[in-house]
């Protein structure tokens, strides 16, 4: 069974996440991720990004673009055999949903 090299590079991925979280604080509260197959069976890395309410409401595209580029600059997704997906939610939305994958 094919497994993308991203699976063996989790410390590198986490380091990149830490860097992006730090550089985009306080707008970016935290970033979680998961590696798996997407709807078409292609390997992917799913980033779940929690933003402050202010960033989510007033600067969503601006901050989202910085997150996407920040991660892409540090991680070679094609080389890791995964396609990146990014989903965003605000602190309030996560507080209401209480989804462990985003905590």
């Amino acid at each position: 069974m094919y497994v993308p090299s991203a699976v063996t590079k989790q410390s590198e991925i986490q380091a990149a996440i830490n860097h992006v979280e730090k550089s985009l604080a306080p707008d970016v509260v935290r970033i979680r991720y998961e590696i798996g197959e997407d709807w078409s069976g292609q390997w992917a890395i799913f980033f779940r990004v929690v933003l402050t309410d202010d960033a989510a409401r007033h600067r969503l595209r601006e901050v989202a673009t910085k997150v996407v580029w920040g991660l892409a600059q540090q991680l070679d997704f094609p080389g890791m055999g995964v396609f990146p997906y990014h989903n965003f939610r605000s602190t309030s939305e996560q507080a209401m949903l209480q989804e462990p994958a985003w905590a």
Binding site: A44, L51, L60, F83, Y85, F88, S90, E93
Partner: protein, 153 residues
């Protein structure tokens, strides 16, 4: 106004309604509509250059969602040109919209929030803006061919 622009307009309108009403089914329609707006943006761009107007709709139906996810990589990954950067943003946004559309239509377990809805609409708006800025560039024209399924030379 073409179908792509109408769908984008619909997505904006539906987004306001869905968020105001906090109606999950409408939120899903927004995400699906935002994706199809972008899908038709590419299809319209491709077929409008076909010489025979009466065949354009038929030609447009030859587009398949899967091959349209053709990725693009800059020659110098670490230092993309502005054009390459915009094309990368267009293709990655298209893939994101496609993935979200799939979830919106089929994943009943997805806990949609307002941010998902607004993100889809603004992603689609960005694709429209960026694509229309670069669509005449040789690189973009070749990429459109790849989305149609043509192999790279």
């Amino acid at each position: 106004m073409g179908l792509a622009d109408e769908l984008l307009s619909d997505a904006r309108y539906l987004a306001d309604q869905a968020i105001a009403d906090q109606r999950r089914s409408h939120m899903r329609r927004v995400i699906s509509t935002a994706y199809y707006a972008v899908f038709h943006l590419f299809v319209e761009d491709f077929v409008e250059h076909w010489e025979f107007p009466d065949q354009r709709a038929r030609l447009g139906r030859m587009f398949n969602h899967g091959p349209m996810r053709a990725s693009f990589t800059a020659k110098d990954k670490k230092n993309p040109t502005q054009l390459e950067k915009e094309l990368i943003e267009v293709t990655t946004s298209f893939e994101q919209l496609q993935k979200d559309r799939e979830r919106a239509d089929y994943d009943s377990g997805w806990s949609l929030v307002e941010t998902d809805v607004r993100n889809s609409v603004t992603l689609a708006e960005e694709v429209f803006e960026k694509w229309r800025r670069i669509e005449g560039e040789d690189l973009a024209r070749h990429h459109l061919l790849s989305m149609f399924g043509a192999k790279r030379e």
